[in-house]
Symmetry: none
Subunit: 224 residues, 2 copies
DNA sequence: AAGGGTGCTGAAGATCCGCTGAAGCAGTCT
DNA sequence: AGACTGCTTCAGCGGATCTTCAGCACCCTT
């Protein structure tokens, strides 16, 4: 799956690219509208993530231009919530979906998946760690076949851990992926949710699948 | 993928930038060492192509300076084959690969791809010294397949030794790498942690993998 | 063999880090 | 409006970890 990200905020673009690459997408990034249009025309992408506010040529114009030349690649618009640009306008120009900033990585990923699913059959793969099963599309978790009900945040945290099973994931990294980038809160929220996760999916089953690595982060592991 | 090219020969820089841009990279070009260092620190790149012979500040110094501040961006060095600068020196200062001039574009591109693959696909490589396995991403150590729990500091010290296996590493060097640069404490801390490491991963297994080299430092070795 | 230097290690204090219960808050549903 | 749910913040506890220190052991030199 090839994605094109057109986003002038380098930090954001980089973090999106890294996250999506890690999940198996092939990601190209450009930082201005004209270049984005050029690339979109030259290359074949499965989806384009397009920021509205761009130097030179804004996202709406890129989008319209693409549709004008008959390009049907799904477009996911990123809009700021300041009212200057609104959702309707984005959809009018031919975008398939939009996400307002600030957004969390998980939200964006979910929307991307939804758009891709619309085209191709089959969604995100199910992740299995020992007898723990994480179903991203169903937002459902099973321990030994038994369903465990999680809240949205809990699920997002678990999913991120599951995507990096057997590796240490820092609290900072979890914050960056699960919370929106504007979040400036205490890393303690992560601890609170980890605590909740353990209460639901480790303690009742006498497991220790979420391991604390002091000074480093957490590791979701099959053993334990 | 964002590349930074630091190259003073304008013709060459331009042609590389053109070629790489055409292949989907987003390329920035600067023409001297100091500016290159500045950009590399300010921005996030996926890879830096760095000429050795530069006006003002040569490539080795740029490379060393970047590594010194903890920047781990892959660096591909370009060296002239005139003997004044050699390959070993480039690698010593922390470059990931080097290409000698004159080189063909395809060779350079192949090297760039190889470096990018190394980073993106699967993280840090697992290190094996005899039956000792160090997994940087999982912050985990195995002796003969059996997991050994280490603290953060212990792991950091061991990892550093493992990265320089079979070589003598001085206490000063360990201090500089494992502790933050502001640390002004006693080098005895290193001894204390070495002691702890031996207690956990040598003594229980009757090994002597961490060898003291009096007056010089320590050596992690497969034999013993 | 003595002496100085270097390294080792057990213990203790200080510090840092993570966990968790509870309360406040915001959004949603009834 | 009121109740409910989930998210975040806060504060205190408990414990792991780091560092310092001091005495001992060992090695090399003289």
């Amino acid at each position: 799956m090839r994605l094109l990200i057109v986003e002038d905020e380098r930090r954001l673009a980089l973090s999106l690219a890294r996250g999506l690459t890690a999940e198996g997408f092939t990601v190209d990034v450009v930082h201005d509208g004209a270049e984005g249009l050029h690339r979109a025309v030259e290359e074949e992408y499965d989806l384009i993530v397009l920021d509205v506010m761009l130097p030179g040529m804004n996202g709406y114009r890129v989008c319209s231009a693409l549709r004008a030349v008959g390009d049907e690649t799904p477009i996911l618009m990123l809009t700021a919530k300041d009212g200057e640009y609104d959702e309707a306008e984005g959809l009018d120009t031919g975008a398939d979906d939009y996400v307002t900033k600030p957004f969390s990585y998980v939200v964006l990923r979910a929307r991307i998946r939804a758009l891709l699913r619309r085209r191709t059959r089959g969604g995100a793969p199910v992740i299995t760690i020992g007898d723990l099963t994480v179903e991203p599309d169903a937002q459902r978790v099973l321990r030994a076949g038994e369903e465990i009900v999680l809240t949205a945040r809990e699920f997002a945290v678990l999913e991120h851990l599951a995507l990096h099973a057997e590796q240490v994931v820092s609290k900072r990294e979890i914050l960056e992926h699960v919370w929106d980038s504007a979040y400036r809160g205490d890393p303690n929220v992560v601890e609170v949710h980890i605590s909740a996760l353990r209460r639901k999916l480790d303690i009742p089953y006498g497991r220790r699948s979420i391991v604390t690595v002091r000074g480093a982060g957490y590791r979701l592991t099959a053993g334990g």
